[in-house]
Point group: C2
């Protein structure tokens, strides 16, 4: 069955041999029906959650992931389309965008009527690692990248994100949907094929909890939405803006934490990915492509980055939190990385080696 | 002038050529007087603090650090003792333990009557990066490590830590003293000579703020100190304990975040480093040496780690927070590191690939 989505994107839903779902997102109506010919068994077990009592935060224990595939050569890439000789995660012989459940998921569907909220405190037992982990393949072209996708292809990725955000938000055990891309071996990527991921958590991740609290406080105190105010300040300061179009703005934030850090936000704020309207969706591809191309252009090498969509939780913060995309790169010079060492990782206190204005200037100076 | 400290450690205070303080900590009374013969100018300027409005956290902008020395060869090591041919950061021809101000500090003494607490909110201007950054050289032996120090030498390091904790806590602009070691190129170490650091912050680092809040809540609700309760649970569970002596206990915590993570705490809780008494101080070296040796023994290679002392802030939490040492290693297998990628660094949600019990078992099985 094919479903038509905004932007003339067509979704086809199929099953993999081990029972996982796969959806293809195409820019024209296609009859996707290729069967997964692998002889697969369902993945073993579920991980568990443990509460760290010193900070009251959940930690996901997923020891079944220890032996996952690590940087396979191109000819063994599980994210390429299948061929007669090689059966991959994507059964069809070609695809535009494909989304499917992670083969070794840290978070999975829990048993029974799952309620994490009932657990707290020092004697919390192990709890099912409830949630979902999905893979979003951006293109069948193994050596491409998000920045190199056509605008049409980026629109298909965006519609896949919106569609999955909407679907995952409806699951009763999900509290937060996190759409992201880790890119580059420097940030631990185990598969080089252009792809992103979606983690849907059954708890509020600590960073979201903090953002929600700060955004709610700001709304209560001033009656204003925090991200709207942040964007106003960036527009007033001007010097850290990287790009802007009718619907989106991209800037190095005033208090950037990483040598190259870019925030991209819709000018008319929306709380969640699935709330982006047609105008916003249509205007996303050009600015996304430009910003990621500038990032690759700074040193003339493909930059390692983590690209994260921040948005309101499923069940709160719709009036205070606003969707935006944070792209952070750990590369501070061609041969030097920024590491999260003691101050950053143990204390949460970031030391930034570059003035945000200098970083913005370098990004703006890239000739595209 | 030589000052006698507990554990028969003697401290001598001198000045470096650019005005920075240096203190030697010796296990016998020595007349330290070697002058710094370098022709040095004072370091330029101070960095600044910027408030990240989305999470209400301070970020340190220290662009003057960008060009610091990066992994020099042994013959150029600035942390070795000076020789006739080579003048280093330590003017004397030998030393046991030496502490001095960082040459390119992210945090330094602010001008005038500094009060960070007056600043908050969206329109906060740049603020002086007030604080202190110090280097603690553990030994003059370039190719040694903390685990390889003699117990006598570890005692000298401990007394240096206590002494500096006490001194830095008295500075009016300091809110938190953080004593730590980054070890290994994998966590961004730029100098391989065995050394640790001390960062004294003029703000509460986000992790400490959270720990303080959770510890205060626990105390208010139960009348009990959180870390005492955590240790009771670890003793009851037993299976994650790595080592114990009359004064200290070492365990892999129930909700460990890193493949190898060990917490070491005094059995009789104290809020701060400088509060360790003679019995606790005397019993520290053997357990520290054992635990770090076990860590190096797991894969038979020197493990990269971040070793962090958590303690109460200078001006709060003395009744709720307790001193302990967290050692976390990012190495999960001989050829594989754990990276802080999207879930960990952008969401703060840790995915742990190893059962904490399995990690404890591997550490306990190491033959010393």
């Amino acid at each position: 069955m094919v479903q038509k989505l905004p932007g003339d994107i067509y979704r086809s839903d199929l099953k993999l041999a081990d029972g996982r779902d796969i959806s293809y997102y195409d820019s024209s109506e296609k009859n996707r029906s290729a069967a997964d010919k692998r002889n697969e068994e369902a993945q073993p077990g579920i991980g568990h959650l443990r509460l760290d009592p010193l900070v009251d935060e959940w930690v996901v224990i997923a020891s079944h992931r220890q032996h996952r595939v690590f940087l396979p050569p191109k000819e063994l890439c599980p994210l390429c389309a299948s061929t007669d000789d090689k059966l991959t995660e994507i059964p069809d012989k070609d695809y535009e965008v494909a989304v499917f459940g992670n083969r070794a998921p840290a978070l999975t569907t829990p048993k029974g009527n799952f309620k994490l909220a009932q657990f707290s405190g020092l004697t919390t037992p192990d709890v099912d690692a409830a949630g979902a982990c999905e893979v979003v393949c951006y293109t069948s072209d193994h050596s491409s990248s998000f920045a190199k996708l056509s605008e049409k292809q980026i629109r298909a990725v965006l519609e896949a994100w919106k569609d999955r955000d909407s679907a995952l938000s409806k699951l009763p055990f999900i509290e937060q949907v996190y759409i992201f891309e880790n890119r580059g071996e420097e940030v631990g990527v185990t598969l080089s094929h252009p792809h992103g991921q979606i983690y849907a958590y059954s708890f509020l991740p600590p960073k979201i909890e903090k953002m929600l609290q700060v955004a709610n406080d700001h709304l209560a105190k001033t009656g204003k939405v925090l991200l709207d105010e942040v964007i106003k300040r960036e527009i007033k300061d001007e010097k850290r803006i990287i790009s802007q179009n009718s619907e989106w703005i991209a800037y190095v934030p005033y208090a950037a934490r990483y040598p190259f850090e870019i925030h991209i936000a819709p000018l008319r704020g929306v709380s969640n990915m699935s709330g982006l309207d047609e105008k916003q969706s249509a205007a996303f591809a050009p600015i996304a492509k430009e910003v990621l191309s500038r990032l690759d252009g700074v040193f003339g090498i493909e930059m390692a980055y983590i690209a994260s969509w921040y948005q309101a939780p499923v069940n709160s913060g719709k009036d205070s939190m606003r969707l935006h995309w944070q792209i952070v790169s750990v590369r501070r010079q061609p041969g030097k990385l920024k590491y999260l060492s003691g101050s950053e990782s143990a204390m949460g206190a970031f030391i930034m080696d570059l003035e945000p204005e200098q970083s913005a200037q370098q990004l703006s100076a890239v000739k595209l």
